[in-house]
């Protein structure tokens, strides 16, 4: 097991290195030179060149990348010229709130999807299964911002049950301290994932139900419920763990949209604002962080699955 974890760790580090290179070069390719961004459009090309030279932005891009990498390893994410603030400070200010929103959404989605998917598989083609599948199709076809809009229109405008704006508190614990204001954002965030997760869980549970060991368990005289909890659940959840690991980028994108829709001050909103300000150091750092979260997500998922299912270790 330790060997497998180590192996996955090394692979993850390499992937992360690859990501940093790809992201850095691509952003370099599309962005204006920092001098132009900082000094504005009206300044002469000479002044821009002088600025770039002074700050080392005229060196070959590979050198700049290696430099940036060295900085990163020292925990320095660079500086936002637009906000005149360290990027790491800005991210630290907002990360907690975004993380809590994401986690709340993810937990809610899993809490609904896992039992629902298994129930659907067990009562395959029953009324519940058909209804849940239909709802999943609808949810899947509904972009999250649209769902959020409808929720706002109904529960905020018409019924007045929940506010249309998320909590503006600076505390990361708004999900708990101000649940009324966070209900709609969390539901919006979770809804899209529920559709994906439940259908995935349904099909992997169906897969497992078709395996011979279920029949063997039945032949032992186990009740159907015992078969589900003792044999099916664990095996049927593995593909979902992997899926969640790979879906991190999608979940992050969901955050951007929900934060924008409900005006929730988190990383997503910071990213959108930086887009408008063309604040590249921040955009770069945020994109890299997304990559890192994805790699970590994949790593955790793989290790979790391997811990639960010892075949993986051997297979690798």
């Amino acid at each position: 097991m330790a060997k497998y974890v180590l192996h996955r760790l090394v692979v993850s580090a390499l992937v992360m290195l690859g990501i940093s290179a790809v992201v850095y070069f691509m952003l370099h390719l599309v962005s204006d030179s920092p001098g132009r961004v900082v000094l504005g459009q009206r300044v002469s090309p000479e002044a821009v060149a002088a600025f770039n030279h002074e700050h080392g932005f005229d060196r070959p891009v590979v050198v700049q990348y290696l430099d940036y990498l060295k900085q990163l390893l020292q925990g320095d994410l660079g500086r936002s010229y637009k906000l005149n603030e360290n990027v790491s400070t800005l991210i630290a200010q907002n990360a907690g709130r975004s993380a809590m929103l994401s986690l709340a959404g993810l937990v809610l989605a899993l809490a609904v999807a896992v039992p629902l998917g298994i129930l659907q598989a067990v009562r395959r083609n029953g009324l519940l299964d058909r209804a849940a599948t239909a709802v999943s199709y609808m949810l899947y076809a509904t972009p999250s911002f649209l769902l959020g809009l409808v929720l706002i229109a109904v529960f905020s405008q018409q019924v007045g049950l929940f506010p249309a704006e998320a909590s503006q508190s600076h505390s990361p614990w708004a999900v708990f301290t101000d649940p009324r204001a966070m209900t709609l954002p969390v539901i919006t965030l979770a809804a899209g994932s529920v559709a994906v997760f439940a259908q995935h869980q349904r099909s992997s549970a169906l897969d497992q139900l078709g395996q011979d060991y279920i029949r063997v368990a039945r032949a032992k005289g186990l009740r159907e419920r015992q078969i589900l909890t003792r044999h099916l659940l664990r095996n049927a959840c593995m593909p979902l763990i992997t899926l969640v690991g790979t879906l991190v980028p999608t979940l992050l994108a969901g955050n951007v949209i929900v934060e924008s829709l409900f005006n929730y001050p988190g990383l997503g909103l910071l990213f959108l604002n930086s887009l408008q300000r063309e604040d590249y150091p921040l955009l770069l750092a945020y994109t890299l962080m997304g990559g890192l979260l994805t790699v970590v997500g994949n790593f955790l998922a793989d290790v979790l699955v391997a811990a639960a299912d010892r075949r993986i270790e051997v297979g690798k």
């Binding site: 609808m138 994109t287 990559g291």
Partner: protein, 272 residues
Amino acid sequence: MRRHPLALAGGLLLLLVVGFCVLGPLLHPTNQTDVDLVDAALPPGGDHPLGTDTNGFDVLGRLMTGGRVSLEISLLAALVATTIGTLYGAVAGLAGGVVDGFMMRLVDVMLSIPFLFFVLILSARFHADALSLSLVIGGFSWLLSARLVRGEVLTLRVREFVLAAKVMGASRRRVILTHLIPNALGVIIVTVTFQVADAIIVVSALGFLGFGLTYPTADWGSQLASGVTYISADYWWLIYPVGACIILTVLALNLLADALRDAIGRPTSARS
């Protein structure tokens, strides 16, 4: 088709949407270029079955032209993504070994990059038109099709009927053309369909976030975005009709894709 009522429903729905977007403007011609503030934000009724938006554009007509743009972008993006993905995946799968290993690790790296951020950065930087938007979306969403096609090629490659063709002396070219491609085609078609659906959502998300097409061209996403601004003003006709359009279209595509996937999974029903 008779065995797949959902596929039939999906197909009909899709036809309806396409017909609405392409033929609709002929039946319901509207002015979608000149701002008319006098007739702005009219509720449905009279000359404007779905009312007008805050610039005075007829909402129904705007749904048609916007839908057409959305569909075009998504279709093109899906074709771009599937073409790149199919070629990439096929090359990796056929080459195998070290080449395959390297190519797929690269895909792993790319898949770990939150691509929506890139699209956002790109569209914020370069004001997008329909063509560039579809190229960008397509250029970032080929990774999953590459994986799928590679997997398909790898399984097909060792299937006994491919081995049989080799024993008969079939050339590599022949094996690829007559056995691999026809058998992988199902997967590819399904992928395109899913990709179109996903692209519609991405395009509308971009539009919603304000980084979609530039005014006055308006896809469904940007129409929805302009509706949001007035959500407290109770202009419901600026939100629900366009929302319904997006949902129905994506739903139709997904139903169709799922049914296609079922159909190719079971060759016994390939002809029904």
